[in-house]
C-alpha cells in the first residue's frame, strides 16, 4: 500500500464519520416534535427517520460532485479537481479535504455535547473554508461567486442562514395560529388522533428530504477525493460503494439519535402539543422543498428550529428565549469555529507532512471525538430521559457545561 492510498483511506473514513455525525445531529430536525408530543415512541421515531434517510440517500441519483464549489476553489465547474493540487497523488487536495472534514466533525460533536442544533452543512463548509484558507490563502475561498446566482460563502451560507429561520418562523406561526383558530372547541379525541397522524406524516417528509440532500454532500466529497487520488475518473457518476456506505452511515447516525439535540428542540424551546408539532413539521417540509426548488440553499436545522419557535409564537405559548439565543450564537459561530479547526488541522498536517501529517490529523480527530464522548457520558441523554421536564437540575447540565466547564 502506498502512502497516497493510506491517506485516501483516512479521508474516506473521515468523510463517512462526518456523514454519521450529520445523521445524528439532524435526527431532531424531523423527529423532535413527534417524540416530544408522544406521537411516536423515541426508538420508533429514530428508526422511522433512519429508514427514510436511507431511502432518501439512494433516491439522489443526481451527482453532487461539485458540492465544495459553493465555498472553496479546489475543483472546477465540471467537478474535476484543480490541477495545481494533484501532485503526489493529490496530496494537497486530500489534506485540504481531510482537515476540512475534521473541522466539520469537531464542531458537530461539540454542539451535540452542548445539545445545540447547528447546521451540519455549515460546519462542513466552515471546515473546508478554514483548510482552504490555510492551504491556498484567502483567494482559495469562493466568497461571493460571480454574481450571476446565489453563490459563495455569502450566497450559500450567510444569507440563507439569516433568512431561512425567519421564513420558517413566519410560516409556522401562521400555520399554528390557523390550526388553533379552526379547531377551537373541537373535542379533544378528534384532535389527538388526527394531529398525531398529521405530525408523523409531515415529519417523515422532512426525514426523506434530509436523506436526499445531505447524504449527497458526503458522496460528492468522497468522490472528489477519489478523483484527486487518481482512483476514479468519471465526472458524471458516484461509485456504487460510495453511495452505499454514505447512505448507511447517515442512516446509522440518524438511528443513533442525537438525543441531546432532540431534547433541546422538542422540550427546550417551547412545550409542544400535537397540533403544534404538525404545524412545525409541515412548515419545515414546505420551506425545505420550496427552497430547493428555487435553488435557495438552506440548512434543515435552521428551518426546523425556526418552525418550532414559530409554533410557540403562533399559540402565544412561552418561548424559552435563553435557549433560542444560545442557538443563535451557535449558528453565528458555526462557520468561523469549524474554519478555525479546519485551518489548525491543515497546519498540523502540513508541518508534519506526508503520511505522518495525515495520520496525526486523523489521530487528533479520534482523540477529540473520544474526549467529547466521555464528557457526554457524565450526564447521558438517551431515549429514556429525552422527554423529562426541561426545568430541572439535571437538564440544566448543558448550560452548566457551557458556562463553567471546570466544575464538572
Amino acid at each position: 500500500m502506498t502512502t497516497a492510498t493510506v491517506i485516501l483511506g483516512l479521508v474516506v473514513a473521515t468523510a463517512l464519520a462526518f456523514d454519521f455525525t450529520n445523521g445524528f445531529h439532524d435526527t431532531g430536525n424531523a423527529m423532535a416534535t413527534s417524540i416530544a408530543t408522544g406521537a411516536l415512541r423515541p426508538k420508533a421515531a429514530v428508526l422511522l427517520s433512519a429508514v427514510l434517510n436511507l431511502v432518501g440517500a439512494f433516491l439522489s441519483v443526481q451527482v453532487a460532485l461539485t458540492v465544495t464549489n459553493a465555498v472553496v476553489k479546489i475543483q472546477d465547474k465540471s467537478g474535476a479537481p484543480s490541477a495545481a493540487l494533484l501532485a503526489d497523488g493529490g496530496y494537497a487536495l486530500l489534506l485540504i479535504v481531510l482537515a476540512g472534514l475534521c473541522g466539520g466533525i469537531v464542531w458537530n460533536l461539540l454542539t451535540w455535547l452542548l445539545g445545540l442544533p447547528s447546521s451540519s452543512s455549515h460546519a462542513l463548509f466552515g471546515g473546508l473554508v478554514g483548510s482552504a484558507i490555510a492551504g491556498l490563502g484567502l483567494s482559495g475561498v469562493n466568497w461571493v461567486g460571480d454574481g450571476s446566482k446565489l453563490d459563495g460563502v455569502v450566497g450559500k451560507v450567510i444569507m440563507p442562514a439569516l433568512l431561512s429561520p425567519v421564513i420558517a418562523v413566519v410560516v409556522s406561526t401562521i400555520g399554528t395560529w390557523l390550526i388553533y383558530k379552526i379547531t377551537a372547541g373541537v373535542a379533544q379525541r378528534f384532535q389527538e388522533a388526527g394531529f398525531r397522524w398529521g405530525q408523523i406524516g409531515s415529519a417523515s417528509l422532512v426525514s426523506l428530504a434530509h436523506g436526499t440532500n445531505d447524504a449527497q454532500k458526503t458522496m460528492g466529497v468522497i468522490t472528489l477525493a477519489l478523483i484527486g487520488a487518481g482512483q476514479w475518473s468519471d465526472l458524471t457518476a458516484v461509485p456504487l460503494w460510495v453511495k452505499v456506505t454514505c447512505a448507511v452511515a447517515i442512516a446509522l447516525g440518524t438511528y443513533l439519535g442525537g438525543w441531546r439535540i432532540i431534547r433541546t428542540l422538542g422540550k427546550g424551546l417551547v412545550e409542544i402539543s400535537s397540533p403544534q408539532g404538525m404545524a412545525a413539521e409541515s412548515s419545515s417540509a414546505a420551506v425545505i422543498l420550496a427552497s430547493s426548488q428555487m435553488g435557495f440553499a438552506l440548512s434543515t436545522t435552521h428551518v426546523a428550529t425556526g418552525s418550532i419557535l414559530g409554533t410557540g409564537l403562533g399559540r402565544r405559548a412561552e418561548v424559552r428565549w435563553g435557549v433560542a439565543a444560545r442557538m443563535l450564537v451557535a449558528w453565528t459561530i458555526t462557520l468561523p469555529a469549524a474554519a478555525l479547526v479546519g485551518a489548525a488541522m491543515w497546519f498540523i498536517g502540513h508541518l508534519l507532512g506526508g503520511l505522518l501529517g495525515a495520520v496525526v490529523v486523523f489521530a487528533l480527530l479520534v482523540g477529540l471525538a473520544a474526549y467529547m464522548w466521555v464528557r457526554s457520558r457524565r450526564a447521558p441523554v438517551d431515549h429514556t430521559n429525552v422527554n423529562d421536564a426541561w426545568d430541572t437540575d439535571a437538564s440544566k447540565l448543558s448550560e452548566t457545561l457551557a458556562t463553567s466547564p471546570a466544575r464538572i
Partner: protein, 98 residues
C-alpha cells in the same frame, strides 16, 4: 452586492410557497378534523357520540387534498434525485427534465 438582492428575491418566493403549502395544508387538515367532529359534542363533551355523516364526507375531502399535497412533495423529492422537476406550467403538475 448581487448576492443580497438575489437572496431576498429567492426568499420571498420561498416564503409565499411556504405559507401556501406549509400553513395552508395544515389549515385544510385542521378543517378536516373540525368536519370530522361536526355534530359531536364540543370540548366539554361527555357522550362521545360519532360525528355527522356529512362531516365525515367533508373531512375525507379535506384529508384527500392534504394527501395530494404530500404526494406532490414526495414526487418532487424523488424526481429531483433523478434530475427531473415538477412543472406547474399546465396548471396540473407534470414531470420535466431540469
Amino acid at each position: 452586492m448581487n448576492n443580497i438582492g438575489l437572496a431576498f428575491d429567492g426568499a420571498w418566493k420561498v416564503l409565499v410557497a411556504g405559507v401556501l403549502l406549509g400553513a395552508g395544508l395544515p389549515a385544510i387538515f385542521a378543517l378536516g378534523i373540525r368536519a370530522l367532529a361536526y355534530g359531536a359534542g364540543g370540548d366539554a363533551e361527555v357522550d362521545h357520540e360519532a360525528g355527522h355523516p356529512i362531516g365525515k364526507v367533508l373531512a375525507i375531502l379535506c384529508f384527500a387534498l392534504v394527501v395530494i399535497g404530500i404526494a406532490l412533495g414526495i414526487t418532487y423529492i424523488v424526481a429531483t434525485g433523478f434530475g427531473k422537476t415538477l412543472s406547474f406550467q399546465n396548471f396540473y403538475p407534470t414531470l420535466v427534465s431540469k
